[in-house]
Symmetry: C2
Subunit: 202 residues, 2 copies
């Protein structure tokens, strides 16, 4: 098993190196040799474990997105108010960024927001997240907790768009980063989307 163990480690080594390189240089502007160098591994070994450069990014995205989808599903099974469900989802994504900002940067910049390339390839996976969020909104509307003049699809887009935009703000250094900011962000996103920006009373 020591052999297989070593093999798995090398594969992981390459994936982790790819995250750093993609985050730093971008998928299109980096070379496969950059990834090999970063992983301290020979060029050819990359092609021993992956069929192509694309497959590396695909693997990174699918691994992580699957975890996200499972998390959303898990949240939706809990018997908590819709606002808390959305808080849990926003929290999960924010914590993902806190835990591995480079990976989340790669997923957002190179896949989620890249309509022409990988975004198109992984559209079904991405759409799945919207559908699950919309389902939460739909249920909240049936339970008369959410207003029903905003369609669930729209609400899901607005919510996910706000979350991703905040991550983008951190990625671009447009918003301050830090543990405090990450915690605040979870609350602020949900307050904005669920409560609205306007004051309720005079």
């Amino acid at each position: 098993m020591a052999r297989t163990q070593a093999a798995v480690d090398k594969r992981r080594l390459i994936l982790d190196a790819a995250v750093r390189v993609f985050a730093r240089q971008g998928f299109h502007t980096c070379r496969v040799s950059d990834i090999a160098d970063e992983a301290r591994v020979a060029y050819g070994l990359v092609y021993h474990y992956f069929k192509s450069k694309d497959e590396i990014l695909d693997t990174l995205f699918l691994e992580r997105w699957d975890i996200l989808l499972r998390a959303i599903t898990e949240v939706d099974t809990q018997e908590i108010p819709p606002r808390e469900k959305l808080y849990a989802i926003a929290g999960f994504i924010v914590d993902s960024y806190r835990h591995d900002p480079e990976l989340m940067k790669v997923i957002i910049v190179e896949v989620t927001r890249a309509a022409n390339t990988f975004g198109r390839t992984h559209l079904p996976q991405i759409r799945q997240a919207y559908i699950q969020i919309a389902a939460i909104v739909d249920r909240a509307q049936r339970e008369r907790i959410f207003r029903n003049d905003v369609t669930p699809d729209f609400a899901a887009m607005a919510f996910y768009g706000a979350v991703e935009q905040v991550l983008t703000g951190w990625i671009f250094s447009l918003l301050p980063v830090g543990d405090r900011e990450y915690e605040d962000a979870k609350t602020l996103i949900v307050e904005t989307i669920c409560g609205g920006l306007e004051r309720v009373e005079g």
Copy 2:
């Protein structure tokens, strides 16, 4: 002037062709010869009018973004409630998409959401839009129309993120398109961000 006129037209012809090609194939995956072919113009002529492939995209982005920034500024000078200001901005962006979906797709996909390449180059321009939206929120908070526990920076991100995500929904065919949908979208975005998803009363 006939000569100059012709020259201007050819330049415009190339820019318009580039929009179509970038929208269809993406900036990184298309060739300069694709743009020349689309414009029915010789390869070399592209380099007579533009220094590089990058400069074509830069030109397209800056032209349009400048119009957006002016529109936001103009909206902010009007003496109307903040909700109407945000409605006007969302409306302007939605109408831009309605008027030229391919151009907006290119700007969003290849610039606004491309943190590693053009997004980085044009960060100051992009940031300017957030700043101006945040200023509107800030004023609304001082006038006690908006609650002040959500920072203006966050509110601006959430608002802009929601708008861009809806456009992305249209681009990806995740949301239905059409004149009716475009008009509804303006209202729904503002309702979500200003009013919030939750019902106010019981």
